[in-house]
Symmetry: C2
Subunit: 221 residues, 2 copies
């Protein structure tokens, strides 16, 4: 019959995966890795962590089986261990947002007031096909290269103001970034609107796009 000690071991093993998700910085690292493979140094800088701290967090993720590594010369690349890990992270975000009011508040404080006017993935696809929208990817160029929506232009948000001329003036712009909690697309739409451009954002981002099994294009512009 069910030995309580073995039962506890099984649930403790499951909890190891939960523990990996129990720290904000580790979730930030997962958020970055969901966009594509990355080196330790790059991850540490992007997440605002010391190198050793980032490395320690990555060990926890690795020992929980959520990420795997690949060595390339002197550099070690981390990536998610599978699509199911991305799905788990996305579902965690959704559950937190739905059932924990504090999450929604922190989200609004970080992203700015929720713009009501955003597009679903299907609406975006329709407009691209009809040619009634220009899609821009406002993530860092590195992440665009790792995978983006087919036909999207790479204009990182910190270059957007200086590259406004590249966008046709008579077509609506649709911006997207990493995922549901990514600030870049919010900032981009505010900036475009401030310059009198018609702009909306995709409701979520690349994470959810991949999970929906929609087509992804890789490589630089």
């Amino acid at each position: 019959m069910g030995d309580p000690a073995r039962k506890a071991e099984l649930f403790d093993a499951l909890a190891r995966t939960g523990k990996a998700l129990s720290n904000g910085k580790r979730l930030e690292l997962l958020d970055l890795l969901a966009q594509g493979e990355r080196g330790v140094d790059s991850l540490a800088r992007a997440a605002g962590l010391g190198l050793t701290t980032a490395s320690a967090h990555l060990q926890v993720l690795r020992q929980a089986g959520l990420v795997v590594t690949r060595r390339e010369g002197v550099r070690i690349h981390y990536r998610l261990a599978g699509d199911d890990v991305a799905a788990l992270y996305a579902l965690l975000q959704q559950v937190a947002r739905t059932h924990l009011a504090a999450t929604e508040q922190a989200r609004t404080a970080y992203l700015g007031p929720e713009d009501t006017d955003h597009l679903t993935r299907e609406e975006l696809l329709d407009r691209v096909k009809a040619g009634t929208a220009t899609v821009i990817d406002v993530r860092p160029a590195e992440e665009y290269t790792a995978g983006h929506i087919p036909g999207a232009l790479s204009i990182p948000v910190d270059q957007l103001e200086s590259r406004l001329a590249e966008l046709p003036a008579d077509v609506e712009v649709v911006a997207y970034c990493r995922g549901a909690n990514c600030v870049f697309a919010h900032d981009a739409v505010r900036l475009l609107n401030a310059h009198g451009r018609a702009a909306k954002r995709l409701a979520d981002g690349m994470l959810e796009w991949r999970l929906a099994a929609l087509p992804v294009e890789a490589g630089a512009a």
Copy 2:
């Protein structure tokens, strides 16, 4: 632009949900709650916890928004806050099993050697329709009452040996219990086989059945 402090707050808010999943005993409580509403005392006993410890864990789950309470006289009933919480728990189990070898080992140690011969939900439905299988629910009666597969008989595993006569001898028996990591159905199949009965188990259990949106019947036998 993205304020790092606000960003950290958002990810810390997400991590609160992760923290709720970071302890084996809390996962055990979620496992029980996925079967239906339950009181604190009952949960504590079933999970092998002290009352105050169980209560403390339930507070953590409640503050993470994963469970909600309902008062009925002097008793407080806890239940999952929504189907998405059950889905999150199920996905956590799947990811842990797929990517963490220690989980699979602990699972085998607890459940016993994996029997190769188990049915999918669809196969079970087909056999019930064709009348070629008797389905038994080997969970505690309380959980059967809270919701079970339509047509299943309630025979808790600790009563199975003394109630063998209730099972028709010429029809195959299919046993199921809580979910993918539940020991009852494994034990039941071993016991039935030891008594010369043809028996298999459903590959997972009630948790996955509900998530698949298959019909559920409530109430006592």
